[in-house]
């Protein structure tokens, strides 16, 4: 196999720059500059439009909002008022007898006023067809060309638009303009619709030139704008822009599409305002719709730190989700009581009982915090958890809240084994006090100590990559599948010892703890009964006992122990101990049924014990190394 870099170069060499690469770059640069000039004009243009529409109102409610339903939450209009309060003030003035505002009770008059004052169509007339449907009223407005005698003249059509109107607070309220739409842009988003960033927005139109489009921020997002280069292919399919970083919770925006070119229709309103931007342009048609731009999840993104507060009777979370970080999950535990409280993260199905689900002892496990706030960085995998707040003195659970750890950035490297065939097995050795572990990186320690590894196995640190964990997990990946994991713990002197080891059925992972310097000499009388030394020995586990009761292997040579499990329902393994010691020299793989072979490094001559860690009281044999 060639080295990886050579392989990558080989693959990358499928593409090569063309000889005219620089000339093409020059063309690209010129094209981009031209597009930017157009875009700058388009933005100025649509900003002017937004300004002339007296700014869109603030829409906080994402449900369908109808002016007629009543209340600030349901108010939805783009003109003339920009908020419910302003519209209500006008309503009160009209109710108090202000005759100058009487036109607001007439939908046609309101639509005409919008066309004249906002769009600058000074000669605007009502189209005879007025349709009322749904929750609003549409009024068609047109501006006859200057040379025409009237709008009915054949072949003489000026700009036109359908104006959507809605009434404030019920059937007797004043009219407001909710949206505006010309025939050029009949298909497109409707008022108040949610648009997910990155999604395609399609606007049906036959136009291929003189179309400008932009998103203009409204309300809290005012000042943010996003120009759009309209594809010149006769249809408009554009990608909804990213939200500004400071408004990831969503933005109300005006989606504005204009059909505009040099003309002579407008001398006031929008046309006049556009002149101030240096654009001698008239509006022939438009689509002006307030919509809400949202993230795909529909809600605000999860924070990097979750805050959990408990006062001894209730627990409050400031977020339902928290983002995993490269070094773990950050949670601020805030004890609002005047006595210590315990905080525990558990999987939801474990949280119903105050008892420790693992040990069965009363009271939850977890950490106990004095009153105040403490930042904790945990190694919790992405999942849903229950946060249990409990009282250490009584062991009673005070309250439970739900928190989901999410990891869209993919920081977490899963430690959990994924067994496709066979059952998983696990083992956890005991060490005598003062045992020193291996120095070095946890993955290196596992590589040196783990037996049963195959060529190509990847041994790597798992969990969170930048974690400073006291119990690092190392996983073994075989053929892209996580087939084993070893959790280590510190010996207090900078070394690592095995805490637990698990593997999938079919793997033969064992843990070689070490070779003792001074083993007990072999018993000369007993060794004869144990047979001649062999580098391949077989132990049969049956009725929770080992057979034979003694085997012999050559000193200093690696050997294989094959375990045949005939108990079926009881798993077994074969570990190697010094007589009377609780510290295994070698931890064998667990065999659920059938047979399993462990490879054991060479041992010094001596007498050892073969012990089944599952049923150590009965399944034992003697190992003679000579």
């Amino acid at each position: 196999m060639r080295d990886l870099r050579t392989e990558l170069e080989r693959l990358g060499d499928r593409v090569r720059p063309t000889s005219d690469a620089f000339e093409r770059l020059e063309r690209t640069r010129r094209r981009k500059e031209r597009n930017r000039r157009i875009a700058a004009g388009a933005v100025a243009f649509v900003v002017a439009v937004a300004g002339s529409l007296t700014a869109f109102t603030v829409f906080r409610d994402t449900e369908a909002r109808v002016a007629g339903e009543g209340g600030a939450e349901s108010f939805l209009a783009i003109w003339p008022e920009s908020s419910y309060d302003d519209a209500l003030a006008v309503q009160e003035a009209v109710d108090a007898g202000d005759q100058s505002l009487a036109w607001r009770f007439d939908a046609d008059e309101t639509a005409l006023a919008f066309a004249r004052d906002a769009l600058g169509w000074t000669q605007a007339e009502i189209d005879p067809s007025v349709a009322t449907f749904g929750d609003g009223t549409w009024v068609a407005v047109r501006q006859p060309p200057a040379s025409c005698q009237g709008p009915q003249e054949s072949g003489c059509r000026g700009p036109e638009a359908s104006i959507e109107l809605r009434r404030l607070d019920g059937s007797s309220g004043i009219w407001s303009v909710a949206s505006a739409r010309s025939d050029e842009f009949l298909e497109g988003p409707t008022v108040g619709s949610e648009i997910v960033v990155g999604s395609d927005i399609e606007i049906g139109t036959e136009l291929s030139t003189n179309v400008y489009m932009a998103f203009v921020g409204l309300g809290p997002c005012a000042g943010w704008e996003q120009d759009v280069i309209v594809p010149a292919d006769g249809s408009i399919v554009v990608t909804a822009p990213e939200l500004p970083d400071e408004h990831l919770e969503g933005c109300d925006v005006g989606l504005i599409v204009l059909h505009a070119a040099e003309g002579s229709y407008q001398t006031s309103g929008l046309g006049r305002q556009l002149l101030e931007y240096g654009l001698r342009t008239d509006v022939y048609g438009m689509l002006a719709v307030p919509v809400r731009l949202v993230l795909p999840s529909g809600g605000p993104p999860a924070p990097d730190v979750a805050r959990v507060a408990c006062d001894g009777t209730s627990v409050t979370l400031d977020t339902g989700q928290v983002h995993a970080q490269p070094d773990g999950v950050h949670i601020d535990f805030v004890n609002q009581a005047d006595e210590p409280l315990g905080f525990t993260l558990r999987f939801p199905d474990e949280a119903s009982s105050p008892d420790d689900p693992v040990s069965g002892t009363p009271g939850p496990d977890g950490d106990i915090y004095d009153p105040g706030a403490v930042r904790t960085v945990g190694m919790w995998a992405p999942a849903s958890y229950s946060i249990v707040c409990w009282n250490p003195s009584s062991g009673e659970i005070a309250a439970i809240a739900q928190l989901e750890v999410v990891d869209p950035a993919g920081h977490y490297v899963p430690t959990e084994i994924e067994c496709t065939t066979g059952e998983a097995y696990g083992s956890a050795p005991g060490y005598v006090e003062g045992t020193l572990g291996d120095q070095g990186a946890p993955a290196d320690v596992v590589r040196a100590r783990l037996t049963g590894l195959q060529e190509g196995d990847v041994v790597e640190l798992a969990g969170y990559p930048e974690a400073t964990s006291e119990s690092p997990a190392v996983r073994i990946v075989r053929d892209g599948v996580n087939v084993g994991s070893a959790t280590l713990f510190g010996d207090g002197q900078g070394g690592w010892l095995l805490s637990s080891l698990e593997g999938c059925g079919g793997t033969n992972f064992g843990w070689f703890t070490g070779i003792v310097e001074d083993p007990i000499p072999p018993d000369p009388t007993g060794s004869a009964e144990c047979g001649p030394p062999s580098t391949e020995v077989t132990i049969v586990a049956s009725d929770q006992a080992f057979d034979p009761s003694c085997v012999t292997v050559p000193a200093g040579e690696p050997f294989a122990i094959t375990l045949v499990n005939r108990d079926g329902d009881v798993p077994h393994n074969v570990s190697i101990y010094l007589p009377g010691s609780d510290e295994p020299l070698f931890v064998g793989s667990v065999c659920h049924s059938g047979r399993l072979t462990d490879e054991v490094p060479g041992l010094l001559a001596g007498t050892y014990e073969l012990v089944d860690d599952v049923t150590p009281a009965t399944a034992r044999a003697t190992l003679i190394v000579e």
Binding site: L4, E7, L11, G12, P17, F22, L25, D444, G456
Partner: protein, 183 residues
């Protein structure tokens, strides 16, 4: 089990890369810089995107952006570092948009599989296409372009240790794919 050792070629590449940056920083002609970096960037972007056309587009975008700022970028200590940082930003921005668009359309988060479509017989291309974007970016910067993990971290906007972790995972996956192929 043998440990993954860092290929010596990556170290020498990294050092020679630094020298070439110094050379280009002094004469400071954008065209010279373009001619020197163009093939390398195109190759890296092809490995990142798995699509020759998209690689070409991002490359052009990136070089235009650098060109427009060449007065400032040309006098930087590492114009190439700026170039790759810009390219990576554009790649990630495109990847994000593409992922969201795919999610919208397909209702799933399928990652780009352009290499596999291009050549199903190439095990490396397939394995590369299946890597998460971040791992692919890390392995291309470290292994192909010879950046150290700290420098690659600066380009990607993450810590060096994260790059090491990402590159290590990617390397393991790719090596397994190559070993399977050669077996």
């Amino acid at each position: 089990m043998q440990r993954m050792s860092r290929p010596a070629s990556a170290v020498t590449q990294r050092e020679s890369g630094r020298e070439s940056e110094r050379e280009t920083a002094q004469p400071a002609s954008f065209e010279t810089f373009f001619e020197a970096q163009n093939p390398k960037l195109l190759r890296a972007l092809y490995l990142l995107t798995g699509n020759a056309q998209e690689a070409e587009e991002i490359m052009q975008d990136t070089f235009v952006a650098v060109w427009e700022r060449w007065d400032r970028v040309g006098s930087m200590e590492s114009p190439a570092g700026y170039l790759y940082r810009t390219a990576m930003n554009r790649f990630r921005s495109r990847a994000r948009r593409a992922t969201r668009a795919a999610r919208e359309v397909l209702g799933s988060t399928g990652s780009g599989d352009a290499f596999a479509a291009a050549d199903e017989r190439d095990a490396l291309a397939r394995a590369l296409a299946r890597l998460p974007d971040r791992q692919r970016a890390a392995i291309v910067l470290v292994e192909l372009l010879g950046y150290g993990s700290d420098e690659a971290g600066e380009i990607l906007g993450v810590k060096g240790v994260t790059v090491r972790s990402l590159a290590s995972q990617a390397r393991a996956t790719l090596r397994t794919a190559l070993e399977d192929r050669d077996a």
